[in-house]
């Protein structure tokens, strides 16, 4: 019951909130030249195979964009390459005109908030130690991370160790670590994969709350969350961009069916819709 209310409520503001968050601007990606994120000819080879091959992609300076696609489509690779966790073999990624691939790692680390798919620190650090590290990486004003700790309700967790935290608590710590310095670009690699419904909704709401100050590029498996929260959706298939547009377009004309190799059924209700995979093609 509560779940349903949430869906309809959340379905309404499709556009990212805030001044620059008019849905059209985000979906159309018509940002002034030089600002925002511009990806150009990014290629990644692994074991002699081209696993990522993006021709060109332009994203505005702020807003929410989802990256969807079947397993192995290159979602993680794209985010890891942009975040600096992996190296690209070709291409460039300009963030406000500066190439993320060619700037010093520490500078990139200050500009990008990276939420990895798996985060398993080796020393069972205390939460405040992790936040300290995150803060040092950004060189942000000290107050910012204290604010983030407050914002994600980490007060009681600060003196606790990572391995003793629940999945939801870990997610909050990771978000504070990634978002604390208010980076202009946030990359989240299936951040909700290990979270229950309430926590993954809250995480997406946190993203939406900040979509007016940063650009969020989020790899996500749950298509219904993707169409509900993200005004801009990029679908990858075999390392190539198979679709780039709004949720309504995605649900039309069998785009999803081609990307996932599954026939999807669209069920409309109220002012939203849901997508169900019905039969494999």
């Amino acid at each position: 019951m509560t779940g349903l209310t949430t869906q309809t409520e959340a379905a309404r503001p499709l556009g990212a909130p805030g001044a620059s968050g008019a849905p059209g601007a985000v979906a159309g990606g018509k940002a002034p030249a030089g600002s925002g994120l511009t990806l150009d000819g990014i290629q990644v080879m692994k074991a002699g195979r081209l696993i990522l091959d993006l021709e060109s992609l332009r994203l505005p300076p702020t807003g929410l964009a989802a990256v969807i696609g079947p397993n192995g489509a290159g979602k993680s690779t794209l985010l890891r390459v942009l975040g600096g966790a992996e190296k690209a073999d070709a291409g460039r990624a300009l963030l406000d005109g500066r190439d993320l691939f060619r700037m010093p790692g520490r500078r990139r680390a200050a500009l990008v908030g990276f939420v990895p798919q798996h985060f398993a620190p080796h020393w069972n650090q205390k939460v405040h130690e992790l936040l300290e590290l995150a803060e040092e990486r950004t060189g942000a004003a000290p107050g910012l991370f204290a604010e983030a700790a407050e914002e994600f309700a980490l007060g009681d967790l600060l003196a606790r160790r990572w391995e003793g935290l629940s999945g939801g608590e870990r997610a909050r710590v990771l978000l504070a670590m990634a978002l604390g310095g208010r980076p202009p670009l946030v990359l989240a690699d299936e951040p909700g994969a290990a979270l229950d419904a309430a926590h993954s909704l809250r995480m997406l709401e946190a993203f939406r709350g900040k979509a007016s100050e940063s650009l969020f590029l989020v790899a996500i498996h749950d298509l219904n969350l993707a169409v509900r929260f993200f005004p801009r959706i990029i679908a990858l298939k075999d390392g190539k961009a198979a679709f780039d547009g709004g949720p309504e377009e995605l649900a039309e004309g069998g785009v999803l069916d081609r990307v996932f190799g599954v026939r999807f059924r669209k069920v409309e209700f109220g002012d939203g819709f849901m997508l169900f995979p019905s039969t494999a093609l």
Binding site: R182, A198, R208
Partner: protein, 420 residues
């Protein structure tokens, strides 16, 4: 509802003010100021959705706008808690370091007093600060250099343990287990038993270093080859490499020793015993130790980042490969220096960082100095016992540390198994 939300936002912004410097300045890339951000976000914040979820997880108050009233309730200043936890941890660290320094001072004094003939602390102090009596001479000329060497060897072992554990991201890594002590021993055996055209003061440390570095890289490569750096892999690789090195060393000792080259030297050295270098060699040894210590502090940030996992470390701006190579070189240099002055001393490098992580936390800029200090305490005290327990003989230092460290290692393994 919306008025509630606005009120909370307002108070949140007011609360944030003390911690937030004037907008524009602090965030160099800042496209949006803090005030504009929260103002822009609030009208669209799905308050009803959040409210309906509140019941689902009451303990975990907020993801930002889920419960706007609660974030500031009862806490007038943002980050108060954060600052408190931090300063508490800093105060604790200061106290721990102070305590460790005191313990070290006591251990050092004990080392000056200990010997075949025991001296009183007063005597020991008097002998160092003037008044040359015969017994004082013994303390000043013999026990003092030995205690200083022991402290340096211990500090080097503790430090290299902390560095190796950080590089391998494994709490069981230490110079002895990752083979670098064994490698250094092979190098040193070669240096001691072969006739070299250059003086031994150069050959011994360089061959020890080369051996230590080679062995550490070999273990790392083997562990990488099998795809992981987990405890089992590391231990297996370390054991395999150590076994090979031990065999190699024994073979060298058998074939190279002759009547005029005494095995005794090599043997006592292998079981670990502090040999205080004399004159300029002492100066060189201490300078190199200080240099290694200073360099290891530069490794603190890379090691912290490595502790987050390689992906996160790379994302946060670390050149992982370079950091690993530099760390191995540094850890091996520390191990080789320690081996060249103290032989094979087991388990100090394992134990010191463990005590450190327990007492000062996981940040390496605190952990490395503390491990060095703890190692210095351990070896200074152990060496004092080694040369005073069974007069007129001397117990090999390595035996004492292994006796104390072996059980520690077992407890550690047991604890790990219980945890997993």
């Amino acid at each position: 509802m919306s008025r509630d939300g606005k009120g909370a936002q307002g108070s949140a912004a007011a609360g944030a003010a003390p911690g937030t410097p004037p907008s524009g300045k602090p965030i160099p890339r800042g496209s949006v100021s803090a005030g504009a951000a929260s103002g822009g976000a609030s009208p669209e914040a799905p308050v009803p959705g959040g409210a309906s979820l509140e019941g689902a997880a009451p303990g975990s108050a907020v993801f930002e706008n889920a419960a706007p009233g609660r974030a500031t309730g009862g806490r007038p200043f943002h980050g108060d808690r954060h600052a408190r936890v931090r300063s508490a941890s800093a105060a604790r660290t200061r106290a721990v370091f102070l305590g460790a320094f005191l313990v070290f001072a006591i251990a050092f004094l004990f080392a000056l007093c200990a010997g075949h003939v025991w001296s009183s602390p007063a005597e020991a102090l008097r002998s160092i600060f003037g008044e040359g009596r015969e017994k004082a001479n013994l303390i000043y000329l013999w026990r003092l250099p030995r205690a200083v060497t022991a402290a340096a060897v211990g500090a080097l072992l503790g430090l290299s343990g902390a560095v190796f554990q950080g590089i391998f991201r494994n709490p069981l890594a230490e110079p002895w287990l990752v083979g670098s002590s064994g490698g250094a021993a092979v190098g040193a055996t070669l240096a001691l038993l072969l006739p070299w055209p250059v003086s031994q003061e150069i050959v011994l440390p360089s061959l020890s270093f080369a051996g230590a570095l080679g062995a550490a890289f070999l273990v790392l490569a083997l562990a990488r080859l099998s795809g992981s750096l987990d405890t089992a892999t590391l231990l297996l690789a370390g054991i395999a490499v150590s076994a090979i090195l031990t065999a190699l060393r024994s073979f060298l000792m058998m074939t190279l020793s002759s009547d005029n080259l005494s095995l005794q030297v090599v043997m006592s050295w292998l079981m670990g015993s502090i040999q205080a270098p004399d004159g300029t060699r002492m100066t060189v040894f201490l300078c190199l130790s200080a240099l290694v210590f200073a360099l290891s502090l530069l490794m603190a940030r890379p090691l912290d980042l490595l502790g987050l996992g390689e992906s996160m470390a790379a994302a946060w701006g670390l050149n992982v490969r370079r950091a690993v190579v530099l760390g191995l070189i540094l850890g091996s240099a520390a191990a080789a220096l320690a081996v060249s002055a103290g032989g094979m001393v087991a388990f100090v490098g394992l134990a010191a960082p463990h005590v450190g992580r327990f007492l000062v936390g996981t940040r390496h800029r605190r952990l490395i100095p503390f491990s060095a200090l703890a190692g210095a305490v351990l070896v200074t005290a152990a060496d004092a016992l080694a040369r005073s327990l069974l007069p007129p003989g001397e117990i090999p230092l390595g035996l004492l540390t292994a006796l104390a460290g072996g059980p520690f290692f077992l407890v550690l393994l047991a604890g790990r198994n219980r945890a997993t």
